[in-house]
Symmetry: C2
Subunit: 329 residues, 2 copies
DNA sequence: CTGAAAGCGCTTACAG
DNA sequence: CTGAAAGCGCTTACAG
């Protein structure tokens, strides 16, 4: 039975009702750090329940300097890749009893700095940064404030902040080899507009694996832009026979562009995508992908935040064979 | 130039350096509530900049009882519909200078209660609840604590908490009429496993608009489950000629199931979906949808949180004609 | 095992 | 216009 909502119940109210001190109530609520006699504990617990006491985490945070909150700076939750990552991060944090503050930076470095600044002002215990292309080392602000930070999906390789990302190099090699096994000597690559971030590194791996024979294509990261590119190429019969898309969004744009142009997938153009978001399985035709191990990545990043001495190993992105490559399944 | 990271810079440090009191520094930093002489203001600003002062929002929150943080309880960010909603909510909150605490409840009422409990302990200034099917009135806990709450996308219609959702009734009528204009007298409906939440209300509207002629189908909300249903129906030639899917996820599953079964869309089966997530445009073939006005919904919910006297009007979900219905575009 | 009290970093009446 | 001081709700040495 809780009291009227006029004034929130405080620890002092509980102490008064239980006929003890606030120290003892705190020890009972937090199960430490000092022992409490069983009888006293019972009285405190009963009083807390009767009053409907809910600990004020803000007060606790001010005193103990631990908020129990971690900030996630995300590129854009509109993109299911990042949406999924956010979900797994939240799940990982919940496993450690932490709450997640989340903000979208778009693809804007200034907005990213501003978010980090606000999260630090909110006294987050840690910071996870999942940026897209943003160049500069935003995590440095966290380090300066003594707040642990980890980059997820992408980050400056040179810095002192760990970067958790999938083993994309190996994934690209597997994708090229798989399309070659389908008889395609020349394997094209659909990259982003620039060579920044993970997509740039994927492009480099493709260059090494595909050699001189492959065509490099570029489009924006949206489905619409990849769609438009394929339609444009189809008009002059210039769509390559085999293509690796750097991201699922682009791959899905390729599928819709090819469909609109009357070009069948995989017979007219075989497609493999490098993201492998959970639902890429249900495109038409279903996409062959190298599945980004988002859950492992999120878990590793979260663990690293709480134990910076832990190992940083790029999780494997396995080839998931479906229909867009030419396999019958 | 900031000091060494050993101890964070406090307002008292700034006051000491500027040769004034903490009260004055507070007035300068917050631009009120009392006036400060221009010369003093300059000294304070200079001192703050030199020391790299960052206000501790936890301390401010404890004293002023305003955290500047709003909690978003989401069903599941893995679903792009909710991911997009979360992005627009965050954007709306940022416009009001608020930070967003986000948690996923899955489709579990117990996890939803737990999240609300934790957000209230974190002293959020408001709560936005975007649940899926969860029956009970979780927002009641917020009301009891004197914290404003708004349901988004779905919520108990009977309660005292406002529910912001699109005008789904009208959207369904438009979808039925559009398929009829394509010559389909009988329009089937693919609902969820139960008649809970918005999908249930959409089903009722369909019932009213389609009359006795339409077939009611059911599947889980995942792409995979809708995909499997269509394959199963196709095996006995039982796929309806025209179908409205309650959600994009299910519609995409229908497309992939039909593709796998060799059933062409729209000629074998015409499809209209009722979600209209931003990227439903790039399926193959592109989906005709009634576009959920996610951005308006998010904005209205956020505005309602800060001004509970504001109007609650269901935003219109316009029919967006693409190819899956049979239109040539 | 328990209590009285200081202090986390702010905001804000209260005096001047 | 400015300063000295109380107090937000906790946690945690310090005594007993």
């Amino acid at each position: 039975m809780s009291t009227s909502a006029s004034r929130p119940v405080t620890l002092a109210d509980v102490a008064r009702r239980a006929g003890t001190s606030t120290a003892v109530v705190s020890y009972v609520i937090n199960d430490g750090p000092r022992p409490v006699a069983a009888a006293t504990r019972e009285r405190v617990l009963a009083a807390a329940a009767e009053l409907g006491y809910r600990p004020n985490r803000i007060a606790r945070a001010l005193r103990s300097r631990v908020t129990g909150v971690v900030g996630l700076v995300l590129a854009d939750a509109l993109n299911p890749y990042f949406g999924a990552l956010a979900r797994y991060v939240e799940q990982g944090l919940a496993g450690h009893g932490r709450l997640m503050l989340m903000g979208n930076a778009g693809y804007c470095a200034e907005r990213q700095r501003q978010l980090v600044e606000r999260f630090l002002a909110a006294q987050v215990d840690g910071l996870l940064i999942t940026s897209a292309d943003a160049g500069d080392d935003t995590a440095a602000m966290a380090r300066a404030a003594g707040v642990p930070a980890v980059y997820l999906h992408n980050g400056p390789a040179s810095g002192q902040t760990p970067v958790v990302a999938a083993d994309n190099e190996h994934a690209v090699e597997e994708a090229v080899a798989h399309l070659r096994a389908h008889g395609h000597h020349d394997v094209a690559f659909l990259a982003g507009p620039h060579d920044l971030g993970p997509v740039g590194r994927r492009r480099e791996s493709w260059q090494a694996a595909a050699g001189a024979g492959g065509t490099l294509l570029r489009s924006g990261y949206s489905r619409a832009e990849a769609d438009a590119l394929i339609r444009r190429l189809a008009a002059t019969d210039a769509v390559p026979r085999a293509l690796i898309a750097a991201t699922d969004e682009q791959a899905i744009g390729v599928l819709s562009g090819a469909s609109a142009a009357g070009l069948p997938v995989p017979d007219g153009v075989a497609v493999v995508s490098l993201d492998g978001t959970p639902d890429s399985a249900h495109t038409a035709p279903s996409l062959t992908v190298t599945g980004q191990p988002l859950e492992s990545m999120a878990r590793q990043a979260v663990d690293l935040l709480f134990d910076p001495t832990g190992p940083v190993t790029a999780p494997h992105a396995p080839l998931i064979v479906r229909r867009s490559c030419g396999c019958e399944t």
